[in-house]
Each structure stands twice: as structure tokens, then as C-alpha cells.
């Protein structure tokens, strides 16, 4: 009887075990999807022109990752190997389409903002990459943590890049619901006789790559173990 009790307490403990905490922590730095795993880049380029877009994208990806990871993890013992890629894709695509359809019916304003991203979310390599690398071989519990960890790792890089790009590229900052707010005083600008001009390069997609490159530079400078040969 006592062994059974201790077994059940052991199971409960493992919810916040070291392993799970690592699943949450690693993708934030040492195992970051964008800067280390090289996943999820495509969306990072188009979406990071404005902070509010990055916020919406991050939340959507987080949601799809968690649900996708849970579903695939629950089905992991049933999915035949030969068609596993197709199955994963179909699950992710269906999730995203259902979310999109429901939003179009009940929250059309949010849906409008999101419709741009629907295709980008489905093909977001992070979602597929983590399904393939983790959810297929692990239980739903840890899979949720993996999803949250990677989702947050993706999110902070996205948010940082978009803050840099929006501030230097538009002289503004935007948040969902608030819209874009230009905070630099108008008379700073050359058009009004001042000295400042927005860096239009920052609005263009290639600059997102450069900003991520710089983030990698900083990240690897502070953690020598990440430096490639």
C-alpha cells in the first residue's frame, strides 16, 4: 500500500521535475528554435515589421504548438511510420483551418488580422520540427512543456526583432488593440526641418535576417559553448 502511495506521489512530483523545467528553459536560450535549431525563420521575416503582428503570430504559434503536440503525442503509438509526415501535417493544417474558420465566424476583426498568417503558421517549421523530434516519442505531459518552451523561445526572438525593426524603421511601436503609435516627436524629422529620418531599410525583410544575425552574435558571445567550429 505504501509503495503504491509513494509511486503516485512520485508521478505528481515529476510535473515540475528537472526534466520538465529543462524543456521549458532550454529553448529560451541554448536550444532556441530560431537561433540554434534554425526553425521558424520564414515567418520571422515578414511578421516582424510591427510588434503587434509579432505578438499575434507568437500567440497563434504557441496555441497550435501546444494543441498539435498534445494530439500527436496522444496518437504517437497509432501513427504508421511511413505516413507520419503527412499525418503530422494534416493535424496541424486542420487545427489551423478550424481556428481560422471559427474566428472568421465569431471574431471577424481578429480573423482579418490573422488571415495573413494562416499559411505561415501551417508551414512553420518549428511546429513540424518539434512534432517530429519530440511529440512523436514522448508523453503528452512533457510534450506540452516542450511546446511551451519552444513557443516562448520563438516568441522572444520574434518580439525583439520586431521591436528593433519598428523603432528604427517607423519610429513607432504597436500593440494589438492599440495600433501603431509614433512616439518620436514630429519636429525631429527632416521633413519638418529636423535631423532624423527613419531607417527605411529596417522595414524591408532582409534586415530581419541581419538583426537575427546580430542577436546570434550577442547570444554566442555570452555563451562560448554555442560557438560553431
Amino acid at each position: 500500500m505504501s509503495t503504491e502511495n509513494s509511486k503516485s506521489t512520485l508521478k505528481k512530483e515529476s510535473l515540475f521535475s528537472k526534466k520538465n523545467r529543462m524543456l521549458l528553459k532550454d529553448p529560451l536560450s541554448d536550444f532556441n528554435p530560431i537561433t540554434i535549431q534554425v526553425l521558424g525563420i520564414c515567418s520571422a521575416l515578414a511578421i516582424t515589421v510591427q510588434l503587434q503582428q509579432a505578438v499575434i503570430m507568437s500567440l497563434s504559434v504557441l496555441f497550435v504548438m501546444i494543441s498539435g503536440n498534445v494530439i500527436v503525442s496522444l496518437l504517437r503509438n497509432l501513427i504508421p511510420d511511413r505516413i507520419r509526415i503527412i499525418v503530422q501535417l494534416v493535424i496541424v493544417a486542420s487545427l489551423v483551418i478550424i481556428v481560422d474558420e471559427v474566428l472568421k465566424a465569431y471574431q471577424p476583426d481578429i480573423s482579418e488580422k490573422l488571415s495573413v498568417f494562416v499559411g505561415l503558421i501551417i508551414t512553420n517549421c518549428i511546429i513540424m520540427g518539434r512534432l517530429e523530434a519530440f511529440a512523436l516519442a514522448n508523453k503528452p505531459g512533457p510534450s506540452i512543456f516542450d511546446a511551451i518552451g519552444n513557443g516562448m523561445g520563438y516568441a522572444w526572438v520574434l518580439l525583439l526583432v520586431s521591436i528593433v525593426r519598428e523603432i528604427f524603421g517607423s519610429g513607432a511601436i504597436s500593440l494589438p488593440g492599440m495600433g501603431q503609435v509614433k512616439f518620436l516627436p514630429q519636429d525631429w524629422f527632416i521633413a519638418s526641418g529636423g535631423f532624423y529620418e527613419n531607417n527605411n531599410f529596417m522595414i524591408l525583410p532582409p534586415m530581419a535576417l541581419v538583426v537575427v544575425g546580430i542577436i546570434i552574435w550577442i547570444q554566442r558571445s555570452s555563451n562560448e559553448a554555442l560557438i560553431e567550429d
Binding site: V49, P80, I83, V87, V90, I98, A105, V116, P205
Partner: protein, 249 residues
């Protein structure tokens, strides 16, 4: 229960079951939500048309505000002949109502203008001026763009405009949706002949009444806006000519 999940027969069975489940779920979701979605789209269309004539409204109030400002809806063919007209409340299921003409679908079908009919909204601004609202649709960088251009009763001065897009780049092409872009059209005038209006990238003269500045970094979308306005006005010109001729008589 040791199912050999790599067995070919099992693989087939799994695929078939998955297709059935996914297919039915998606079909059910799509079909059951369609009426609501169509209603949302109609509301948005009304909001945009009213937006082009400077009336701000919400999706909830669009239905009641629409007939107040939009006095008549016409559909014309490429020769300028009036085919249908409606007024009052909009019934989404009434296919003869010009409001329900799907201009985007017609554009995608690439049918020549002679085979299509085009909607025209005869409106009244808040101050009682007569305005004509023309739907425009075209191609941006990533996908379709569309909008409404409102002309004053002289059929030459632009009273206002409202544009929208499906998948243009946020912060670049997507800016056509912002008032900052569409406000530039207010008070500008169409030319006598094609190109009736141009979106200029860089070096535009402030006094130029027949153009507006494009969006920095959103060249292709901006060019798309100019092209769709030009192409559409060309079609409606016949009808406008017939109006001026008949009023001259």
C-alpha cells in the same frame, strides 16, 4: 494490444479513417459556419463602402446605416447600360441585388469586361452631396487587393477611398488599409483619359492632382492599387459619359 502499426493494411486503414475524420470535421465546420461568415463579409463590405464616403460605422450598425447613406445600387455592363437597381435594406440571398455581385470572383475568372456586370453605389454624404462609389479589385504582391473609390457628382473629383487586402506584407503593402494612405486620395482628380490616376513612387510633385505617393517598401502593392483604379474607371467611363450626355440634353 500489439498492433503492428507499420503493417501496410493498417497504414491504409489509418489513412482512410484519418481522411474521413478530418474531411468530415472540416466540412462540418466550414458549412455550419458559412452563413455567419457570409453575414460578416456583407457587414464588412457595407462598412467599407460607407468608409469610402467618410461615414464611420461598425459591423453591428452597418446594416442599419447602409440604406441611410446608400440611396441606390446599380449594376451596369461594360457599355454603360443599367441592368438592375435596388435600394433599401440588403438581402444577402437576393442575387439580383447589385450589392451581392462578387467583383473579386469576377476578376479572378479573367472573363472579358463585356461578359460581366459591375456594381455602382449612388450615395449621399452626411452633408447631402451626391456621391458615386465604385468597387475596385486587383492584384498586390502576395494576393488580391480591393477597395472602394468614391467620386463626387462631377464624376471626376475623388471624395474618398477605402482599400483592403488579403495577404499583403504587414507594415508595407498592408498599409493601403490605413487611413493615412486612403486619405491622400481625398480631393484628387481623375485625368481625362487613361491612366486616370497614378500611384507614384518617389519624386511626386505636391501640386500633381492626378496622383498620390506610393507606400515606401510596398511598391508592387501600390502599383497594383493604381492599376486597379485605372482599369476599373475605364470600364465605368461609358456609364459616366452617358450620364453627362443625358444631363446635357
Amino acid at each position: 494490444m500489439a498492433i503492428d502499426k507499420n503493417n501496410t493494411g493498417y497504414t491504409f486503414l489509418f489513412s482512410i479513417i484519418m481522411v474521413l475524420i478530418v474531411g468530415t470535421t472540416l466540412a462540418y465546420t466550414s458549412l455550419s459556419l458559412k452563413p455567419l461568415q457570409k453575414k460578416n463579409e456583407a457587414d464588412k463590405q457595407m462598412v467599407d463602402i460607407l468608409g469610402a464616403i467618410g461615414v464611420t460605422t461598425t459591423r453591428e450598425n452597418a446594416k442599419t446605416d447602409f440604406p441611410i447613406y446608400v440611396k441606390e445600387r446599380l449594376s451596369i455592363d461594360s457599355d454603360g447600360t443599367v441592368l438592375n437597381n435596388s435600394s433599401g435594406n440588403v438581402d444577402p440571398s437576393d442575387s439580383s441585388d447589385p450589392f451581392n455581385l462578387d467583383v473579386k470572383k469576377d476578376y479572378r475568372s479573367k472573363k472579358p469586361a463585356s461578359e460581366l456586370s459591375f456594381p455602382l453605389y449612388v450615395c449621399e454624404s452626411e452633408l447631402g452631396d451626391k456621391l458615386y462609389v465604385i468597387p475596385v479589385v486587383g492584384s498586390g504582391l502576395w494576393g488580391p487587393i480591393w477597395g472602394f473609390v468614391a467620386l463626387e457628382s462631377d464624376m471626376n473629383t475623388i471624395y474618398g477611398a477605402k482599400f483592403d487586402h488579403k495577404t499583403e506584407t504587414p507594415g508595407l503593402g498592408a498599409e493601403i488599409k490605413d487611413n493615412e494612405f486612403s486619405d491622400k486620395f481625398k480631393g484628387q482628380k481623375l485625368r481625362e483619359a487613361s491612366p486616370y490616376f497614378t500611384i507614384i513612387k518617389g519624386g511626386r510633385k505636391i501640386e500633381d492632382m492626378h496622383s498620390v505617393d506610393g507606400i515606401t517598401g510596398g511598391t508592387i502593392t501600390s502599383v497594383g492599387v493604381g492599376e486597379m483604379i485605372d482599369r476599373t474607371i475605364t470600364i465605368y467611363q461609358r456609364y459616366f459619359m452617358s450620364l453627362t450626355n443625358s444631363s446635357a440634353n
